[in-house]
C-alpha cells in the first residue's frame, strides 16, 4: 500500500467549522517511502533476578542468586509496508513495548534482524532518527522547565530541520492539534492531554516517515483521545506516513488501524484485518454479548480469543 503525500489545500473540517487547511505535512524530502519495517526471526530474552524473603532463601540470595529467563519475543517475524496504519496489540507483558524499543533502536535483539526504513536501528541510529518519530505515552520529550515553543525550537536545531519545512509543519500541528495557546506555557504546567498533544506535535516537526506510538492514549480523556485519533488518521491517510501504534483500548485501535498484529506470550498470534479477527473468533466458537459476531465489540472478540488461546 502506498500513498502519495498531499500538498493541496483541500478544505477540511474542525470543530464543526469548515476551514482551509495549512500547507500539508510531507515526509522528509528524499526519504525513501519504500523502506517499511521488516522484523525477521527476532528473539528477545531478559533475565529477572529472583529473591526470597525468608529463612534459607535470604542466604541463598547472597550466595547463589536465582535468575529467571523471560522470552519477551520468541521468533517474531512481520513486515509493515509503507503507508500502513498498524495496530500492535496484546495483553500486559506480551512484548509490545519491547518490540517498539527494538524498532526505535533503544534495545538490540538477542537473535534475528530488524530493519526500519531500510536501515538497521543499531548501526544507522543517527540517520534513522532523522526519519523516525517515537512517542511513549508514559514519558515526555518536552523540556520540562521551558515553554513548549522552546522545546520546538530545540527540536528544529537538533534535527536540523530546514526553516520552510519547520514553519509548514509547525503551522500544521498548531492548527490540527489546537496547541496555539499552549506554546508559551511551561511543559510542567500542562495537563496530561495537553502535554500529549504538545509531544505529538513536536514528534511531527521533522516530517517523520514512520511513527511509533506506544500507548499514546494512556490516561487521556475522551475529548483528548478523540483529537489524537482524528489527527493520526489524517496524517496517515493524507500524508502517507506509516504508523505503528500500541494501545490497550481495542476500540481505539480498530478505529485507527486497518491491520492488527496481535502478540501473545512473545509470539505473533494474529496478523490481519479486524474483520478477519471477528471471523476467527467465530471459528473458535467464542460467544460475545452481541448476537451478531460481525458487529461484536472488538474488545470482547479479542478478550475471547486470548482466553481460547490460553
Amino acid at each position: 500500500m502506498s500513498r502519495q503525500a498531499s500538498t493541496d489545500t483541500t478544505p477540511w473540517v474542525t470543530a464543526g467549522r469548515r476551514r482551509k487547511a495549512p500547507a500539508m505535512f510531507t515526509p522528509s524530502a528524499g526519504s525513501p517511502l519504500n523502506g517499511g519495517v521488516h522484523v525477521q526471526c527476532v528473539t528477545k530474552t531478559f533475565t529477572q533476578w529472583q529473591r526470597e524473603n525468608a529463612g534459607k532463601g535470604i542466604l541463598r540470595n547472597l550466595l547463589k542468586p536465582q535468575k529467571k529467563t523471560v522470552h519477551a519475543l520468541d521468533d517474531v517475524s512481520f513486515t509493515i509496508n509503507p503507508g500502513e496504519f498498524v495496530a500492535y496489540a496484546g495483553p500486559n507483558g506480551a512484548g509490545k513495548s519491547t518490540t517498539m524499543k527494538l524498532l526505535a533502536g533503544m534495545l538490540q535483539p538477542t537473535q534475528g534482524t530488524v530493519s526500519v526504513l531500510g536501515m538497521s536501528p543499531d548501526k544507522d541510529r543517527i540517520r534513522l532518527m532523522k526519519k523516525l518519530g517515537v512517542l511513549f505515552g508514559n514519558r515526555t520529550e518536552l523540556w520540562w522547565d521551558h515553554p513548549i515553543s522552546q522545546s520546538f525550537e530545540w527540536k528544529r536545531v537538533v534535527w536540523d530541520i530546514p526553516d520552510d519545512v519547520y514553519k509548514r509543519n509547525l503551522e500544521m500541528v498548531t492548527d490540527l492539534l489546537d496547541i496555539g495557546e499552549l506554546q508559551k506555557t511551561f511543559a510542567r504546567e500542562l495537563s496530561l492531554g495537553q502535554r500529549m498533544r504538545a509531544d505529538l506535535a513536536m514528534m511531527l516537526l521533522h516530517s517523520p516517515t514512520l511513527i511509533l506510538l506506544d500507548e499514546p492514549t494512556l490516561g487521556l480523556d475522551v475529548v483528548a483521545k478523540r483529537q489524537m485519533i482524528d489527527f493520526l488518521k489524517k496524517v496517515n491517510r493524507e500524508n502517507g506516513v506509516t504508523i505503528v501504534v500500541t494501545s490497550h483500548d481495542m476500540d481505539d485501535l480498530e478505529e485507527m488501524a486497518e491491520r492488527i498484529l496481535m502478540i501473545s506470550n512473545g509470539k505473533i498470534a494474529y496478523d490481519g484485518s479486524f474483520d478477519g479477527l471477528r471471523a476467527l473468533s467465530e471459528a473458535y466458537g467464542i460467544e460475545t454479548q452481541t448476537v451478531v459476531i460481525k458487529k461484536a465489540p472488538i474488545e470482547q472478540v479479542i478478550a475471547g480469543l486470548y482466553k481460547a488461546w490460553k
Binding site: F46, M106, L107, D122, R139, L142, W144, D145
Partner: protein, 221 residues
C-alpha cells in the same frame, strides 16, 4: 604553603566546582549514573546526534550554575593580590588549562564510576554524586603538611590531590615529587581512556538488557 597559597587553592577548588556546575550540571550530564539508573538514556537514542555530542551540550546552565564560578574568581583575585607576585601573561592560560584538566579528572571519575550503573541501576544510581562529593571534600585539604607516604597515593591511586593541591603548587612552580606540571593531564587522559572503555562496555550491556525502571525525575529538569 603560605596562607595566600592556601586561599588560592580554596579559590581554585571553588572555581572548579563552578565550572562543573555551569557546564555539566544541567540534566544530570555530570551525574550520569542518575540518568543511566533511571533508564533515561533511552531519550538520547531518539535524537539524531551522537551520545557524546548530546552529553557535551545538555549540561550548560549559565545562570543558576555560575555562583561558585563568580565567587571563586573573586577569592582568587584576593589571593593573588595577597601573594604579591608578578605573573607573566601566559600564566593565565596555564591556569585555564589546569582548570579544564581538573574538571576533566572529575568527569572521568564520575563516568568511570557511573559505568557500574549499567549493571546495577538501583545500587549505583547515585554513585556519581558520591564520587564527586567525596573527591571534592578531600580536595579542599592542603596536603603540604602531610607525610609523603600519604601525599603520593592521593595524587596517583586516589587522585584527589590533583583537584586543587597539585595544580596550585604547579602553577607557582613548586610541583611536588619533582613531577612535571603536565602530570594531571596525563592522569586525566588515562582516566578518560578507562572511563570511555567501561562506559562503552556498559552501554552495550544496556542496549542488550534494557533497564526496566524508567523514572522521569531528572530528565530535562
Amino acid at each position: 604553603m603560605n596562607r595566600f597559597e592556601v586561599l588560592f587553592m580554596l579559590a581554585y577548588t571553588t572555581i572548579v566546582t563552578g565550572i562543573f556546575q555551569t557546564f555539566c550540571s544541567g540534566a544530570n550530564t555530570g551525574h550520569i549514573s542518575r540518568r543511566i539508573g533511571r533508564g533515561q538514556l533511552e531519550h538520547m537514542f531518539n535524537q539524531p546526534v551522537s551520545l557524546p555530542m548530546q552529553l557535551a551540550t545538555e549540561g550548560f546552565i549559565p545562570f543558576s550554575g555560575s555562583s561558585n564560578l563568580i565567587s571563586g574568581t573573586v577569592i582568587m583575585a584576593v589571593a593573588l593580590n595577597g601573594l604579591d607576585i608578578v605573573l607573566p601573561w601566559w600564566w593565565v592560560l596555564s591556569l585555564i588549562g589546569n582548570l579544564i584538566v581538573t574538571v576533566a579528572i572529575i568527569l572521568g571519575n564520575s563516568y568511570f564510576a557511573s559505568s557500574l550503573a549499567f549493571y546495577a541501576p538501583v545500587q549505583a544510581e547515585e554513585i556519581s554524586t558520591f564520587v564527586i562529593d567525596t573527591f571534592g571534600h578531600i580536595s579542599t585539604f592542603p596536603l603540604s603538611g602531610m607525610p609523603r607516604y600519604l601525599q603520593f597515593p592521593l595524587i596517583t591511586f586516589i587522585p584527589t590531590g590533583l583537584l586543587a593541591w597539585f595544580p596550585t603548587l604547579a602553577l607557582f612552580g613548586k610541583a611536588p615529587f619533582g613531577l612535571s606540571a603536565w602530570y594531571p593531564l596525563l592522569i586525566a587522559i588515562i582516566l578518560w581512556l578507562f572511563a570511555a572503555h567501561f562506559f562503552r562496555k556498559g552501554l552495550h550491556y544496556y542496549v542488550k538488557t534494557g533497564i526496566n525502571r524508567y523514572h522521569p525525575m531528572g530528565h530535562r529538569r
